[in-house]
């Protein structure tokens, strides 16, 4: 029997039974509920909203949190496998889950008061409240410390002013985690609720990538929030970045799912597509390309699995995550491009998955720390010299 291209190096054996069970649940969910509809949703530029309650029912939001907040206490590897399977469906779906769980819920859990946790986390686990994470600004992306959103202390609390851009789920969100600089130049986190006076959101409509994901702008025009809406555990920019480390960890896993989907598609397609009297798969050029794809998939799977082990052992550094995010996204993007090529003209339609994954991964290569930023993070770790 030929080796299984989805698990060529028997990496399954590194996972526990419950980790595999989590993966299998999400895999079936994606096959049944996502695959049949995602191409059309992507083309229309819509997030498939009916998936939210279904994902919540399976416990996909906040799944690593303790049970008392509605989580399942998943291991880092189980969480990673969940992200892999979601992104096998679409990067936008994984982004939705990343932002809900690893950015918004994680920020509230890690830096919030017990009252803030009790108020928001169970509703967010249930998918009844969607969260978003307002860090990036029109003129502050790779350099978030340059943000110009301000938090002014008043007798009653705080007044927030500024603009956030590239915010996933912004217009859907019932609660936004907003980062702003106080008058001492310290970065603070706040929970801003939908409908608060002065707080408005607008979708960005011109994307040619990540089309099944909602990306928004947040406008904060003198939004008054009480002190009780500030996240008291925040200690400057490092706190905001620690949430990104969680999300990037999930991305390092997720993109491998997109690459697996492309590899499978390419193997299936070239087995049946005939050219010059033979299946494409019987051509040397095709076989070399498929092997190139497999090598990247296996490399990504191994890197992600080891990253998960390091995280579970409590030895993970943000530089570990940077290297894995940088490598896995770029290699997966290459795999998607190869799939696109192998599928010829069919590769440019949403009837197949290649181009959808390919242009989605262009976003993933840039967001959550651009490829180049991760080079600098790892470079600093190697040399001790900051080169930003």
């Amino acid at each position: 029997m030929p080796n299984n291209p989805m698990d060529y190096y028997l990496i399954d054996e590194m996972f526990s039974a419950d980790e595999r069970a989590v993966r299998d649940t999400v895999r079936k969910f994606v096959d049944r509920e996502v695959k049949p509809i995602i191409g059309e949703a992507w083309l229309k530029g819509e997030f498939p909203m009916p998936l939210i309650p279904k994902m919540a029912e399976l416990g996909l939001f906040g799944s690593t949190l303790p049970e008392e907040y509605g989580g399942a206490g998943l291991s880092p590897i189980a969480y990673g496998l969940m992200m892999q399977e979601l992104e096998r469906g679409d990067s936008g779906l994984r982004s939705f889950a990343s932002v809900q769980s690893s950015l918004s819920m994680f920020a509230i859990y890690k830096f919030g008061t017990e009252e803030q946790r009790r108020r928001w986390l169970p509703q967010m686990t249930a998918g009844k409240v969607i969260g978003c994470y307002g860090l990036t600004e029109p003129d502050a992306g790779s350099d978030p410390g340059a943000m110009i959103t301000r938090a002014r202390k008043t007798d009653k609390g705080w007044v927030l002013s500024g603009v956030k851009r590239w915010i996933t789920n912004g217009t859907l969100a019932g609660v936004a985690v907003v980062w702003a600089k106080d008058e001492d130049g310290q970065i603070q986190g706040f929970l801003v609720e939908k409908g608060q006076p002065g707080f408005t959101t607008k979708d960005m409509k011109t994307k040619v990538s990540m089309r099944a994901s909602i990306t928004s702008e947040l406008y904060l025009d003198g939004v008054e929030v009480p002190e009780a809406s500030r996240l008291p555990g925040v200690k400057g920019l490092g706190s905001a970045l620690s949430c990104l480390t969680e999300a990037r960890y999930g991305i390092a896993w997720g993109v491998v799912g997109a690459a697996m989907d492309c590899l499978k598609e390419a193997i299936d397609y070239t087995a049946t597509r005939t050219v010059f009297g033979q299946p494409l798969a019987a051509k040397q050029l095709t076989q070399e390309r498929l092997t190139d794809m497999l090598a990247r998939v296996v490399g990504g799977q191994l890197l992600a699995a080891r990253l998960g082990q390091i995280k579970a052992a409590g030895k993970l550094t943000y530089a570990h995550v940077s290297l894995a995010k940088r490598e896995n996204v770029r290699r997966s993007l290459e795999v998607a491009r190869m799939d696109r090529e192998l599928l010829g003209a069919n590769g440019i339609t949403t009837e197949y998955n290649a181009i959808r994954h390919m242009v989605n991964l262009e976003t993933v290569d840039t967001y959550e720390g651009a490829y180049e930023v991760h080079s600098l993070i790892v470079g600093r770790d190697l040399t001790g010299q900051a080169a930003f």
Binding site: M1, N4, A17, D18, A21, E57, A72
Partner: protein, 264 residues
């Protein structure tokens, strides 16, 4: 109420089955296992009964090697309260008769009000175990159930069966055995919380001795039928042309692609 659900661990339906020449069983190397899909309907029905009736205790029961605990673990993740694995090396070579006898022995004395099973397992398609378990336990059986309603107070159940061209509604006094047919329900997936909780639930293992079965009742010796030969038929290339109006041939083509070519 107490409900037992019989589940079988079978090769994934997408597996390309291989048999080594001379062997009388499939080559299990690299094969992934699933719960037989008809048993999933049985399990889902047990969960629905609990949602409708409240106090329902669900026990999942399987016969098989240690590996079959995975199927039971899935049932626990779905919400079964506990599980029993009937397992003994002496069962090697058992047929459906032996399997049913052993399962009946495991169920005996459990005071189950309902015993639910799939109408057949998708690996050997014997369609024997549910009925035979009922026979060994001297219980009524209703096969191929597509609807099930339980009247707890009256101690009865009403089951519907879709037959060739007509339907039947049957009432039975509990306890009774029911085998599930496609259409009974729409099985859910185990939620993440359930998977984590299942780790703490108990799976009891019963061997032949615990079941009070004698060695000559087990395995090949106790079996009533014997597999003489097993092989994967060599396929001659077969071209099929569908004729007729597109509205008729298109669904047929989809069916063939899914069921015969297995490419969908």
């Amino acid at each position: 109420m107490k409900v037992a659900v019989l589940v079988k661990h079978v090769p994934d339906t997408e597996t390309r089955i291989q048999v080594k020449p001379g062997d009388k069983k499939i080559n299990e190397e690299g094969v992934t296992y699933i719960i037989s899909p008809f048993d999933e309907f049985a399990m889902e029905e047990a969960l629905l009964l609990r949602e409708r009736l409240g106090d329902v205790q669900i026990t999942a029961v399987a016969l098989g090697p240690q590996k079959a605990t995975e199927a039971l673990r899935t049932c626990l993740a779905l919400g079964a309260d506990d599980a029993i694995l009937v397992s003994d090396p002496a069962f090697e070579g058992a047929d459906a008769y032996v399997t049913a006898k052993a399962l009946a022995a495991a169920l005996k004395g459990g005071n189950y009000d309902l015993i639910l099973a799939g109408k057949q397992a998708v690996d050997d398609d014997a369609a024997y175990v549910g009925t035979a378990v009922a026979e060994f336990l001297d219980l009524p059986v209703i096969n191929l159930v597509t609807k099930l309603e339980v009247n707890k107070a009256a101690g009865t159940a009403v089951a519907a069966r879709d037959l060739d061209g007509y339907s039947q509604v049957i009432e039975v006094k509990l306890p009774a055995v029911f085998t599930a047919q496609k259409g009974l329900n729409n099985p859910r997936l185990p939620a993440l919380m359930g998977i984590m909780k299942a780790k703490k639930k108990e799976i009891r293992t019963l061997n032949a001795q615990a079941l009070g079965l004698a060695p000559n009742e087990l395995g090949a010796e106790g079996a009533k039928v014997e597999v003489k030969e097993m092989f994967v038929p060599s396929k001659a290339r077969k071209n099929k042309v569908l004729t007729g109006a597109p509205a008729e041939t298109a669904p047929e083509l989809v069916k063939l692609l899914a069921e015969e070519a297995k490419v969908l």
